[in-house]
């Protein structure tokens, strides 16, 4: 009879695909224990999400759209979370492994003396407790872990769960309530002065059906233009390895891997990427992984479904042309 609390961060865009996945995972776990799940929606527009979250599996919804969450996301988020914890008294506290979850989870776990497992790729209820699996050592090993405390806190990677089919009839049974967080900002709180969001015409990297990613082998920022053209032809997004980010060729927001984004597209095309496990952890959930590399011994050919050895400067534009011929 576990009580589950799933935290969803919103930025005026409604619940994201990963938020609904988290809710689906939490709802299944709650049901496995004959328990309940409460969704906590935080941020701008949270009040309008209630029915949608109920339809996607929440038994109840708490929301907080206090403006303090935008200026002081970490500190104000913690206050809201503490209040929600006092109301719900969860046994399992779930976050997405995104900038909000990675920020709040360790701090709330420390405050509540709770065991925290981060970056889980699997989470199940087994023999009376929540057991998570997660890649460690750059994906070279998998660790299974459980909290020894009454409350288990987990951050969950994209693809670990799946959203439930929405059922509008569920909305009648649950309550949607504003959380009275009474957030009084502290003088020492770090303040967000402004946000610079990189404009992109295509789909978001995390939600794209196709991702074309480049690594050190792309050789420079101009090479990414070639990848962008292929991504555009496939209505996909462009990603990168850490090496390309460190070289300053692309923005850090493009990074895929253990320390960047985890993506789960239908098609992932890795160009000039050696296949270090650090990167592969971020793209191993792709349905089809294609590797293009000049080095026939590149590690990535061990993991890829399809490999092509050759110069991407020829292969990638040729692939874009071939796709247009097929279309």
């Amino acid at each position: 009879m576990a009580r589950v609390l799933a935290v969803l961060g919103l930025q005026g865009q409604g619940a994201s695909a990963s938020g609904l996945e988290l809710l689906g995972l939490g709802a299944r776990l709650a049901r496995a224990t004959s328990g309940t799940i409460t969704a906590l929606a935080l941020g701008e527009g949270a009040g309008a999400q209630g029915e949608r979250l109920l339809a996607h599996g929440a038994d109840d919804v708490l929301w907080c759209a206090d403006e303090a969450l935008a200026r002081w996301p970490g500190e104000a988020g913690l206050r809201a979370l503490e209040r929600a914890q006092q109301e719900v008294r969860p046994d399992l506290l779930l976050f997405s492994a995104d900038s909000l979850g990675r920020d709040l989870a360790p701090r709330i776990a420390a405050r509540l003396d709770a065991g925290l497992i981060t970056e889980a790729t699997e989470l199940e209820f087994s023999e009376g407790r929540f057991v998570a699996a997660r890649p460690v050592f750059g994906g070279k090993a998998i660790a299974r872990m459980a909290a020894t405390t009454e409350l288990t806190v987990v951050t969950v990677r994209a693809g670990a769960g799946s959203a439930l089919e929405p059922d509008a009839s569920r909305a009648a049974g649950g309550s949607v309530r504003e959380l009275d967080a009474a957030i009084a900002p502290g003088a020492a709180w770090p303040t967000v002065l402004r946000r610079e969001i990189e404009a992109s015409d295509g789909p978001r990297l995390e939600e794209a059906k196709t991702v074309v990613s480049g690594g050190r082998g792309v050789g420079g920022p101009e090479g990414f233009q070639t990848l962008q053209e292929l991504a555009d032809a496939l209505k996909g997004a462009v990603g990168a390895s850490r090496a390309a980010v460190d070289e300053g060729w692309v923005p850090a927001a493009w990074q895929v891997g253990q320390t960047g984004k985890a993506v789960a597209p239908d098609l992932y095309i890795a160009v000039g990427i050696s296949g270090a496990s650090q990167h592969m952890v971020g793209c191993s959930r792709a349905k089809t992984l294609v590797a293009i590399n000049t080095d026939p011994d590149a590690l990535i050919f061990e993991t890829a479904r399809i490999g092509v050895v050759g110069d991407y400067r020829e292969l990638v534009p040729a692939l874009a042309r071939a796709l247009r011929e097929l279309a």
Binding site: P106, F137, A141, R144, A146, R194, L234, D266, T303
Partner: protein, 262 residues
């Protein structure tokens, strides 16, 4: 201004999969010779501290680690990069969970001149938990800004850049704070100068025993490691080679169509 940088020595993350094995009983990696390096994001944190000191002039940097004697190597490296002081909490990180490590590191920080800024890599390159930096903030009752990649304005109040999923935020600190550091092109760790490496060997290293700073009495492990396993074996790619780039690309496109990937 006093900056404390938390550093961890880790098993070299570049070790290839084929050289990596696990001891399923002790639940630790089993790697021959087990080369150790400074954790990558801690290197980014250290570079950020060095750049901040260059921009301000008035900063001193203390490098702090928790580890066994061998971890002095990362402190020597920090001193060679001209950090002003180096401190090691003498404990085995493999025997402690994140909260216990944070408790000891925070206690060690309390023995120093109060820091204006504590920097830590966003996660260590071995267990990759991403917890200790934020938990040190909690232990010290300081605010925490995660995923900082650079300092935007080095004068007080300090302003930093925080990486977000789709861009970044510019964040002004309100006083002493903890920042966890992520990589970007501005904070790749520099190489030490030869003369500084020589000088670093003669600089003092302070070692603190956990008992001296209150230990972790009353704080049991909050997380249990049930198993450490190797991932499922990989099979290898189906290679496409139809001669020219143009023909190979066509063959690849057809295959992707067959697989329903496009």
């Amino acid at each position: 201004m006093h900056v404390v940088v938390l550093l961890k020595q880790v098993l070299d993350p570049e070790i290839p999969q084929k050289a990596f094995d696990v001891d399923p009983v002790r639940k630790v990696p089993k790697v021959e010779r087990a080369p150790q390096v400074l954790s990558i994001f801690d290197g980014n944190a250290l570079e950020l501290a060095l750049r901040l000191r260059e921009a301000r002039g008035d900063a001193t940097i203390t490098a702090l680690t928790l580890g066994v004697e061998r971890a002095d190597e990362v402190l020597r490296k920090a001193l060679a990069l001209t950090c002003d002081a180096a401190v090691r909490v003498g404990a085995d990180p493999e025997a402690l969970d994140s909260r216990q490590k944070a408790r000891l590191l925070a206690a060690a920080i309390r023995t120093l001149e109060p820091p204006d800024l504590v920097l830590a890599g966003r996660q260590a390159a071995d267990w990759e938990a991403g917890q200790v930096g934020a938990m040190v903030a909690e232990e010290l009752s300081l605010p925490c800004v995660p995923f900082v990649s650079r300092v935007e304005a080095a004068e007080d109040p300090l302003t930093v850049r925080q990486q977000l999923e789709s861009g970044y935020a510019v964040v002004r600190l309100g006083g002493p704070s903890v920042c966890t550091v992520t990589n970007d092109e501005t904070n790749v760790l520099r190489a030490a100068k030869v003369k500084d490496v020589m000088a670093a060997g003669r600089k003092p290293l302070r070692v603190i025993a956990p008992e001296e700073i209150g230990g972790i009495s009353g704080l049991g492990p909050a997380v249990e490691l049930l198993a450490l396993e190797l991932p499922a074996k990989r099979t290898g790619a189906e290679m496409v080679d139809a001669g020219s780039a143009e023909e190979s690309a066509r063959a690849l496109a057809r295959r992707l169509r067959e697989l329903g990937a496009i």
